[in-house]
């Protein structure tokens, strides 16, 4: 009987099976940020166990509220910073070098096919785009990960999503994942790995695959996962060129992780996406979705472009392509947060930042900030935001505020009109 990619990763990382169905895995990378790590650090210190399992396998960033906005957030940043220095954690990213974790860490080449990855952040599933098993965990799992380099998981039951066809113009990875969440529901993939397959995924860039995997958790999924292919090799090559004699050799190694043809799935779902339309959420759960045709005309107060879902260069290029030579509606305010300093700088060099600023966007530094209502674009009660982020829970971006999730293209068209708008007419 064949294995899925997740089963192969579990089999090669198994440390212990204390009970049937419980797999304690060795971790390749433990990622940390300043919101969920400080309490783990404090607990380790209180227990007299202020140690880390491997300084090279722990990566840390200050990203949720940065630069710090007040004493409390400055204290959180300081706890993480002091800890990283104390343990000589080389890959620690502070102000000036920091960006949204799920954009920054892949950009640094830290995530490789076949890896096990945890972070105290639910959107860690993003890293499955590289053919890794990547799961969000709580602070206690993170703490044990930091100390021992292990984490426990249930059987990696997998739902395979075969995505057939070719995406129409104006339809992107964000529309695909919103559509899929709408199909399976917010707990449709709980305790399941979401394996994305088919020509639609094969045609996607790594950035699009990250967008796709990023929202697996919004269907309850443990990890999103894509097969590591030539696109993956091309992306990672600058970081792995000394490890393999050639790109073909790297590809052959990566190919070994692919799910076997006779692998057994919990479920296999097929979708033809050739006629998919841009998708927007309408309620307070990510599975409440409609087409832009149904939602067009809904007024918004704010447009937010950024986050671990859609703050990458590809997203900025798509939005700028729509905004070029246009201005945003006078009734709306628009905020761009490029997800990392590198993305910000490349957007500057390409002239994208000029386009955004001339259109009337406020450009902020890379941070998670507004996505979870912590800084840089919090909503007032009753306000509505068109957002490229991943969660539309009531009050998510500010108490009493409403969030509509959408693609960067749809958000750009919406900024121009001040109400939800179909991006296809601007392409």
């Amino acid at each position: 009987m064949g294995k899925t990619i997740a089963e192969k990763i579990f089999a090669t990382h198994l440390v212990d099976e204390p009970f049937a169905g419980t797999h304690v895995l060795k971790l390749d990378v433990v990622l940390c940020h300043e919101i969920t790590t400080p309490i783990a650090i404090a607990d380790l210190m209180a227990r007299g166990k202020d140690r880390v399992f491997d300084t090279t396998r722990i990566k840390a960033v200050i990203d949720h509220v940065t630069p710090s906005k007040d004493t409390k957030t400055a204290t959180q940043a300081k706890i993480l910073r002091d800890w990283a220095r104390r343990h000589a954690i080389k890959d620690f990213f502070d102000v000036g070098h920091n960006g949204v974790c799920h954009a920054l860490f892949p950009e640094k080449g830290f995530i490789r096919p076949g890896y096990t990855v945890i972070m105290g952040d639910s959107h860690t599933c993003t890293h499955g785009a590289f053919g890794a098993f990547a799961a969000g965990v709580g602070t206690t799992d993170l703490e044990v990960g930091i100390l021992k380099g292990v984490c426990a998981f249930r059987e990696p039951k997998t739902i395979r999503f075969n995505l057939h066809g070719t995406l129409p113009k104006g339809v992107y990875a964000k529309d695909v994942i919103l559509f899929l969440i709408g199909q399976v529901g917010v707990n449709g993939a709980t305790d399941r790995v979401m394996e994305f397959r088919g020509p639609v995924v094969e045609a996607m860039t790594m950035e699009s695959r990250m967008t796709l995997c990023n929202m697996a958790i919004e269907a309850g999924g443990t990890s999103g996962i894509c097969m590591p292919d030539q696109v993956t090799v091309d992306y990672l090559w600058p970081f792995i060129q000394n490890d393999y004699p050639s790109m073909d050799a790297a590809l052959a190694e990566f190919r070994k992780w692919w799910s076997d043809d006779d692998a057994v799935y919990d479920k296999v779902l097929d979708f033809d996406l050739s006629t998919l339309e841009p998708i927007v959420t309408h309620g307070y759960k990510p599975d409440q979705v409609k087409t832009i045709t149904e939602m067009a005309g809904t007024p918004v107060d704010q447009v937010y472009l950024g986050s671990c879902t859609n703050g990458r260069l590809e997203d900025l290029r798509i939005a700028a392509g729509i905004l070029k030579g246009k201005t945003i509606a006078p009734t709306v305010r628009a905020i761009l947060s490029p997800a990392t300093p590198k993305i910000y700088q490349e957007a500057l060099h390409e002239g994208l930042i000029d386009i955004f600023m001339e259109a009337g966007f406020c450009v902020t530094n890379p941070t998670c900030g507004a996505c979870l209502g912590m800084s840089n674009g919090v909503l007032a009660e009753g306000e509505v935001c068109a957002s490229t982020t991943n969660r539309n829970f009531m009050g998510r971006m500010g108490k009493g505020g409403m969030v509509h999730l959408m693609s960067p293209a749809t958000s750009a068209a919406t900024a121009i009109e001040g109400k939800m708008a179909d991006p296809r007419k601007y392409l």
Binding site: R47, K72, T124, K148, N187, M394
Partner: protein
């Protein structure tokens, strides 16, 4: 090992998320105790008052499907813990929330819909209480002069975490 049981808080809705349990703006608190006043602050349910006596007195929560969905924040189990709520009984849980509960030595108990419906039939009694026996795998609900006991399934690993007092103690001994 923690004790489980006492007054019950019935939250009759599916998909109660971690932002409703503890809004993100309070994630800047450094100690668990500081989270205490903000329990369920953004949860809007008919008749529910996050600052009310029912919430204050609660030791167990009973809810519906996909409880604790959303963020990985362990602040959600912690805000329950510092308010002396050590068990949540629901039709299903989001994975991370469920594991966070057991990792803290607390109980996230899943019961099929029919049994959850039975428990909810006690929601109208102001004196309803519940005892959760993790070792024996039973939940006993009392109210309005009635009482009934239902059994539940729990993974042996999660049960071991409760008995060990949480994942750090368990893992530290073993790995």
């Amino acid at each position: 090992m923690k004790t489980f049981g006492g007054s019950v808080l019935f939250l009759d809705r599916s998909d109660i998320n971690t932002d409703e349990i503890i809004p993100a703006k309070y994630l800047t608190e450094i100690t668990k105790e500081d989270l205490k006043p903000y329990i369920l602050e953004d949860l809007k349910l008919p008749g529910f008052d996050p600052k009310g006596a029912k919430t204050r007195e609660a030791r167990v929560i009973v809810s519906r499907a996909n409880f604790g969905c959303g963020s990985s924040r362990e602040h959600a189990p912690w805000v329950f813990e510092v308010n002396d709520i050590t068990a949540v009984v629901a039709e299903s849980f989001a994975r991370i929330f469920r594991q966070n509960m057991f990792n803290c030595g607390m109980a996230a108990i899943e019961l099929p819909k029919e049994k959850i419906d039975r428990l909810f039939s006690y929601a109208g009694y102001p004196d309803s209480t519940m005892a959760v026996d993790v070792a024996g795998q039973t939940v006993t609900v009392r109210g309005g002069g009635k009482e009934e006991t239902v059994s539940f399934e729990v993974s042996p690993f999660d049960k071991a975490l409760v008995l060990a007092g949480g994942w750090v103690d368990y893992a530290d001994k073993k790995y």
